[in-house]
């Protein structure tokens, strides 16, 4: 292969490094009105009155919008396909505020300073209501967070707003309760995960203007431009045909930009004033007023036979969606559907639970999307079981985990908000991953731990994981390829490059198929007017879904070129030989440049364009084994990550270096969730960790060595054998590190993040018990 499975630099890397204007805020109109939001100081309150008179008197204040300026159209910001599996429980502005940082009203003014001054002059009267600040107290609480009659589900998702339940679900294969009773060894344990923040470098940013055709044109740092356009139109009741959403370069998303954040208010301001406007979230707003990962509690019961066969898994999940139900059902379901099939040999499995509303910052999509939470719980519990069985963790997994050619009943039962799709694992190199990681981390000589110095214990821990590749029968991607004079191509895709490098790998897939150099493919992505439909960058779908669309479009373009060459040579298509640059038939020869110039200027004039789309009929999971080596300081409880070994099966790596970047970025973000990123609220519901000093993501100094390898694997249904790689990297660190800590000092930490404080406390308790 010429272009695929080759490391080439990201096609946008150099321009971005040279500081070319490319990001949303670079492209705002210079005279944009600045839009800022007055945010709630209360976790739950009813707005009685908003006095904006003083602020309106201020020179330079153009407009103040409150809930009274909007029709009560409920919607969801989730940024999903239609109809959404998330409840419509949000208004552009509402007379209730449901978390600290929720929107009260917004000001548009000519400068930031005036905006700020105006915000201070707005006087709001609140009736403060009783907030729910603990998700375990939410269901059937006296306070009802969504009592408004307009809130509704789009199809049955178990929505019971009167009980503070945003969604619920239950499924069972076999009879878990019976099988638990029959099991020789049983583990019962609860696990907690925290509301991790995405911390993408570019905050949520959007700007709008009315163009010369009297249309609303938005630049937005979004993962889902097509959904943004639809949701804006539906909610503001403005014709879809008069909205254009352009996604320029985006500085990271991780799921945080799947949802709509500033788009509604900026559009409303521009539509009312006719003037361009813009909004850039502050870092504090990103923390408090966008969304986080769903915190969850898992109550897990595992049953196994004496000889180490896992017989049954019972898993109840309580998930905290915060003030709004964005991705409530689907994230919670993925906590089961992309975790439980790892152990497909069980006799019975049950997965059930509820997603509760609370008065915290809402939760939404985040890389891993439930799978990381579920992985922490299940893979920790498995190690507890293995310990009780007196077995080796690797041997146990090898015996019980899913392998090539096998399936799990869960695939057919659980989809994302709907039923799933049955599939066999056509490509599954998990066994290789397990064995190769074992070697790379030097498990044999380290497990369970070695004493490096008086107070340092070096240990190893591991976990296995799977993810998906798009949502079958829902996620659709499409691509258009246009041949230009002089023989180069435009590739137009709806797929959304948000820094992960999808424009680059899609160009590589097109180049491979067309036989040309990648530099001949000029990619333009995500402009709702110009590029074809794509659901967006989420659910690990771009390489597999959009990649397949690009592959099909390129194949078709190739056929068109061959047909035109045959016409030009006056020969039959079957004797044409085409290597991507030169077209040959018998003794005749023509370059693609000559052919295209002929087509556009001289003879048989016509434009060649091909458009194809792809919707998955299955979602082949990428797999990985994550092995960590840690140094645990028994004096301070501090954990140093010495090495993190990832052995990944994502099928063919279209661009090995970008694939490695995805895995390692995921690992570091997973390490952050595992041991650094503590989320703290004070007793009045205020997020304390709302800046980058208090909220500690790992820095370069925390990461010592990352060892990343890819298994040789080929997924027949993927473009050139590829599966997804965007999320899988994040899943293993929490469980692998928790297991390594147990192996080092014998304490089992069941809540994230695993801080030195927790480790030392548990060690102390254990000492006490021993005495």
């Amino acid at each position: 292969m010429k272009s695929v499975n080759k490391t080439i630099p990201s096609i946008d890397g150099k321009g971005l490094m040279m500081g070319r204007p490319a990001f949303t805020d670079d492209l705002a109109e210079k005279n944009s009105l600045i839009v800022k939001v007055l945010r709630s100081p209360h976790p739950f309150a009813k707005i009685l009155n908003i006095d904006k008179s003083k602020a309106l008197e201020l020179e330079g204040v153009e407009l103040i919008l409150t809930h009274e300026d909007f029709k009560r159209n409920s919607y969801t910001r989730a940024g999903q396909g239609y109809p959404e599996p998330s409840p419509h429980d949000k208004f552009v502005l509402d007379e209730y505020v449901r978390h600290i940082g929720d929107e009260v009203c917004c000001v548009a003014a000519v400068t930031k300073e005036i905006c700020e001054e105006a915000l201070e002059l707005i006087k709001v009267e609140y009736e403060v209501l009783n907030p729910i600040l603990n998700f375990e107290d939410a269901i059937d609480n006296k306070s009802i967070i969504h009592d408004e009659p307009e809130a509704h589900e789009m199809f049955p998702i178990g929505f019971e707003p009167k009980r503070n339940i945003a969604a619920s679900y239950k499924m069972e294969v076999g009879n878990t309760e019976e099988d638990v009773k029959k099991s020789d060894v049983v583990i019962k344990q609860s696990f907690y995960t925290q509301a991790q923040a995405h911390v993408m470098m570019e905050p949520h940013t959007v700007n709008a203007r009315i163009d010369y055709l009297n249309r609303l044109v938005l630049y937005s740092a979004t993962q889902t431009p097509i959904h943004v356009r639809r949701i804006l139109s539906q909610t503001l009741e403005f014709p879809l045909s008069r909205i254009r959403v352009i996604k320029p370069r985006v500085g990271g998303g991780f799921g945080g930009k799947q949802a709509l954040h500033g788009e509604m208010l900026v559009s409303a301001v521009t539509l009312r004033t006719g003037k361009p406007s813009k909004m850039v979230f502050t870092r504090k707003e990103v923390f408090e007023s966008s969304y986080s990962r769903h915190p969850m509690r898992f109550d897990i019961t595992l049953g196994a036979s004496k000889d180490g066969m896992l017989e049954t898994i019972d898993c109840y999940v309580l998930s905290d969606t915060g003030a709004y139900g964005e991705h409530a059902l689907t994230v919670f379901m993925v906590a089961g559907s992309k975790v439980l099939p790892l152990y497909n040999k069980v006799k019975s499995v049950r997965f059930h639970g509820h997603v509760a509303y609370t008065n915290h910052t809402p939760a939404g999509a985040f890389r891993g999307y439930g799978a990381i939470q579920g992985n922490f719980a299940l893979e920790s519990a498995i190690d507890m079981l293995v310990d009780k069985l007196g077995m080796d963790p690797i041997e146990f997994r090898d015996k019980n985990m899913i392998k090539q050619g096998e399936t799990s009943p869960i695939f057919a039962i659980m989809g994302e908000g709907t039923e799933g799709t049955a599939m066999n694992m056509e490509s599954c190199e998990l066994e290789f991953c397990l064995n190769r990681g074992y070697e790379l981390i030097n498990w044999k000589n380290t497990y369970p731990y070695i004493q490096v110095s008086k107070n340092i214990r070096r240990s190893v821990g591991m976990a296995i994981a799977m993810q998906g590749s798009g949502i079958p029968y829902i996620d659709m991607g499409s691509a258009t390829i246009k041949l230009n004079d002089d023989g180069f191509y435009n590739l137009m895709v709806g797929a959304t490059d948000i820094g992960q490098g999808s424009d680059t790998i899609l160009a590589q897939i097109a180049a491979e198929t067309l036989g040309c150099d990648t530099s001949q493919i000029i990619v333009y992505s995500s402009d709702s007017d110009l590029t074809p439909f794509d659901t967006g960058a989420y659910a690990s779908s771009t390489t597999y879904i959009s990649g397949n669309a690009v592959y099909k479009a390129a194949l078709k373009m190739r056929q068109m070129i061959v047909r035109e060459a045959a016409l030009a040579f006056k020969v039959d298509e079957s004797i044409i030989e085409y290597d991507g640059t030169t077209i040959k038939a018998d003794d005749k020869e023509m370059t693609i440049n000559e052919l295209s110039n002929r087509l556009y200027y001289n003879e048989d004039q016509k434009q060649l364009t091909s458009t194809e789309s792809y919707v998955g009929t299955k979602s082949p999971p990428p797999f990985m084994a994550g092995y960590v080596m840690i140094d645990l300081d028994t004096e301070t409880g501090e954990v140093k990550i010495v090495d993190y070994v990832s052995v990944v099966d994502c099928g063919t790596t279209i661009n090995p270096s970008l694939a490695k970047g995805q895995v390692e970025g995921g690992i570091v973000q997973g390490i952050g969730m595992a041991i650094y990123e503590e989320v703290l609220y004070n007793s009045s519901g205020k997020l304390v960790t709302n800046n980058l000093l208090n909220y500690k993501i790992p820095t370069r100094k925390e990461i010592n060595k990352l060892t990343t390898e890819f298994a040789k694997s080929y997924e027949d249904s993927g473009p050139y054998g590829a599966k997804s790689v965007g999320e899988i990297g994040i899943d293993t660190p929490p469980a692998a590190i928790a297991n390594a800590i147990y192996n080092a000092v014998g304490v089992r930490i069941t809540s994230l993040p695993i801080t030195p404080e927790k480790i030392l406390l548990e060690m102390k308790k254990r000492e006490g018990e021993k005495r």
């Binding site: 930031k112 700020e116 008086k454 004096e635 980058l692 820095t699 100094k701 030392l760």
Partner: protein, 279 residues
């Protein structure tokens, strides 16, 4: 209207300060954060402010008579690179904030901020550093433990500023600085431990211990240190429980968003024990 003054010389600065009250900005790495408003808008100073960061007459470091003398706005990164800077101070600076901040941050600011978690402070205490404080008509030299009075409280008067920090060069055979933060950069200490000893022929001639972030100011107890001077290393080690008991009452940390008091206390004592046991 608040006044913003960028003086051209120290005497000009002191002149202004003799007439009006000013907040001093050195590197600004504490103040800019404390006065932060919205992103991309300048910080909000609600009082007169005087910027001393470019005063050349405060930007120096020199070695004189077995002392290091550091001008008030000499950035810590450069202090770290100065060859005669005591090793403990170098170690403390190495894990302070992050490189960009260290090129601005100053020790005078660390003192002026008077946070119990200031990382250079325990080092200054252990070295019995002196602080030269000047005003228009006066100049005084005050030991570091008398400069810092409590959390965010110093003895520096409104018309005064720190001119320089004087650190005696001492002889130690073994030193240790351990900072326990949430991560390895841009993290404020949960607790820190500083230890230094001078052992000659197996006899502990000098021992100095300081703890950061576990009380309202840095904890250094000369009475306790004196008690153990003159012992052999083995004798010292055999009395480890007594040493721990001596320090225990002074380690009174709080619970905040960075850590909790039980952890801080236990770790501080663990680090002390570790230091003594490894002499």
């Amino acid at each position: 209207m608040v006044k913003h003054i960028i003086p051209n010389s120290l005497s000009e600065a002191l002149d202004y300060m003799s007439k009006d009250e000013y907040k001093i900005v050195s590197g600004g790495t504490d103040l800019m954060v404390q006065k932060r408003a919205w992103a991309e808008t300048p910080p909000k100073f609600d009082q007169n402010t005087i910027y001393i960061f470019n005063l050349m007459d405060l930007k120096y470091i020199k070695k004189e008579n077995n002392k290091i003398i550091i001008g008030a706005n000499y950035p810590v990164e450069k202090i770290k690179d100065f060859k005669s800077t005591p090793i403990l101070l170098k170690k403390a600076i190495e894990i302070m904030a992050s490189p960009a901040l260290r090129n601005l941050a100053t020790i005078a600011g660390n003192i002026g901020n008077a946070s119990p978690a200031g990382d250079t402070l325990p080092i200054l205490y252990v070295h019995d550093a002196l602080v030269k404080i000047v005003s228009k008509n006066n100049s005084r030299i005050v030991p570091i433990n008398e400069v810092i009075l409590s959390v965010r409280k110093t003895c520096i008067n409104k018309d005064e500023m720190i001119k320089e920090i004087i650190i005696p060069i001492l002889e130690f055979t073994k030193t240790s600085f351990v900072k326990v933060g949430g991560r390895k950069a841009d993290a404020i200490s949960k607790t820190s431990f500083t230890g230094a000893v001078n052992v000659k022929d197996g006899i502990v001639k000098d021992i100095r211990i300081a703890f950061g972030a576990v009380n309202v100011t840095v904890v250094r107890k000369k009475e306790i240190e004196n008690k153990y001077k003159g012992l052999s290393v083995l004798e010292l080690q055999s009395r480890i429980n007594e040493i721990l008991n001596d320090y225990e009452p002074f380690i009174k940390p709080i619970t905040d968003q960075r850590s909790n008091k039980d952890y801080r206390k236990q770790v501080s004592l663990n680090l002390l024990k570790e230091f003594i046991n490894n002499l």
